[in-house]
């Protein structure tokens, strides 16, 4: 397996990367950890003429406490997120998602920015950032813009990013004392991508769910928040019976086009979404 030839550019700064992107347009691809792009290039499913390496740009790899949110550099590896005590404490569903991506070697190289920008429908982070209510920071020629996670995932392998923009930072809100989150997945036995991944965040006030965020990956062509489950639980106490009821609503939206493949049929995926909604929410309930 050998990629087709390309020109290689090592960007030393975000600005340089943006100017290279502007110069080469759709002929160029950014590479960070390379664990989404390189496999496609080896199969020659992707044949960019120019590769812009942003892995070694200083200042893209960090996890910083900014008070009401945690800023994660887009170049931060899955392994760093998996092991971050700060995140474990303040947004634990993100390290939980990171810990089940691929395998240890993949987690050492793969980056959160790369995974999100690639927008694989079965990747783990998309559900996690949706449930977390993350904001994604993109920088382009015209400066910086902040994209809510809900607006980021457009279609299969397609995001709101312009081809001349770089995702530089992921901002995840810090959870309060009465909020808990979790991420659980049912992996494909071969690829270990999610057949269904469920991320959820629940806030309890006066023993009822005041805020509920439930997001799925692996189920449809993009990760999505499931308002059916969220609405059913909001305002309810968090117990097995309310969870069971809410989970029944998972993946039931009419607008949803559930993926189907040899491993999992539409029915089975929808069923797993309910099971994983229940299990994720039960784990949250047990964490209070």
């Amino acid at each position: 397996m050998y990629p087709a030839p390309f020109e290689y550019h090592r960007a030393r700064s975000v600005d340089e990367a943006i100017s290279l992107l502007s110069q080469y347009g759709s002929d160029a691809k950014l590479i960070a950890g390379g664990h989404s792009l390189l496999p496609m290039m080896k199969l020659r499913l992707a044949t960019p003429a120019h590769l812009i390496d942003i892995r070694t740009i200083d200042g893209l790899q960090y996890i910083e406490d900014k008070g009401d949110y945690i800023a994660i550099g887009a170049g931060t590896s899955h392994a760093a997120i998996e092991k971050s005590d700060l995140l474990k404490q303040k947004m634990p569903l993100l390290p939980q998602a990171a810990a089940v991506i691929g395998d240890p070697q993949v987690r050492n190289m793969g980056t959160i920015g790369g995974s999100l920008a690639h927008a694989d429908p079965a990747a783990d982070y998309p559900a996690a950032v949706l449930a977390a209510g993350a904001q994604l920071v993109a920088v382009g020629e015209d400066g910086e813009r902040v994209i809510p996670a809900e607006e980021f995932f457009v279609e299969l392998f397609q995001t709101d990013l312009d081809e001349r923009e770089i995702l530089t930072e992921i901002r995840v809100p810090v959870i309060s004392g009465n909020t808990r989150g979790a991420y659980l997945k049912f992996p494909h036995p071969a690829s270990r991508f999610a057949i269904v991944g469920c991320a959820a965040l629940v806030t309890l006030e006066n023993n009822v769910c005041s805020d509920v965020r439930v997001a799925f990956t692996g189920v449809a062509s993009t990760a999505f928040r499931d308002s059916g489950v969220e609405d059913a639980l909001r305002g309810q106490p968090l117990n097995e019976s309310t969870i069971q009821k809410a989970a029944e609503q998972a993946a039931e939206s009419d607008e949803l086009e559930i993926m189907e493949d040899n491993f999992a049929s539409e029915d089975y995926r929808r069923h797993l979404a309910k099971v994983y909604a229940k299990r994720t929410l039960m784990q949250i309930a047990s964490a209070f």
């Binding site: 390309f6 590479i31 395998d103 993949v106 071969a190 690829s191």
Partner: protein, 156 residues
């Protein structure tokens, strides 16, 4: 257009000019002649190409050689010191952790990182840490025992 790279491989500084599309594993195998690192798949699945880059286990089939510029690499050839096997290598030998040997270098390097981070892993932790490395011969039974052997020896 070839690009100059400079890196450390098994403690030796290496400088070469490489084609950008050259994969790191092919750089190791074809350019440096370090054929202990193997290629078993084309989907970043099997882990036969696992090496250490700056102390982390990585799949060298999913890295370009140019991305390793400035890095410090250790391959299976760099583990034994002065002819003395590393305890992980010794573990694989003592516990019959290999049969055909093809996955073994990658398996050893993955185990290396595990034991760096977790000197006393449980069986479940060992199995989980090796999920990125395929073996078709051993059923993993003796690989688990090999890592346990190494952990014991390293902790002594």
């Amino acid at each position: 257009m070839e690009i100059p790279i400079k890196l450390t491989v098994n403690g030796e500084v290496v400088e070469r000019r490489v084609e950008p599309r050259l994969l790191l594993v092919n750089f190791l195998r074809d350019v440096l002649g370090l054929t202990g690192t193997h290629v078993g798949c084309d989907t970043s699945s099997c882990g036969a190409c696992t090496i250490l880059m700056d102390g982390k286990a990585v799949k060298s089939c999913t890295l370009l050689a140019v991305q390793a510029d400035g890095a410090e690499l250790v391959t299976v050839e760099g583990l034994a010191k002065n002819g003395e096997l590393h305890p992980i290598q010794e573990g694989f030998w003592q516990e019959h952790g290999l049969q055909c040997g093809f996955c073994t270098p990658g398996m050893i390097m993955a185990a290396y990182q595990l034991l760096e981070e977790n000197p006393n892993p449980s069986e479940e932790e060992i199995r989980h840490a090796l999920e990125g490395n395929y073996c078709r011969c051993t059923g993993y039974h003796n690989i688990v025992k090999s890592v346990q052997y190494a952990a014991k020896k390293l902790n002594r």
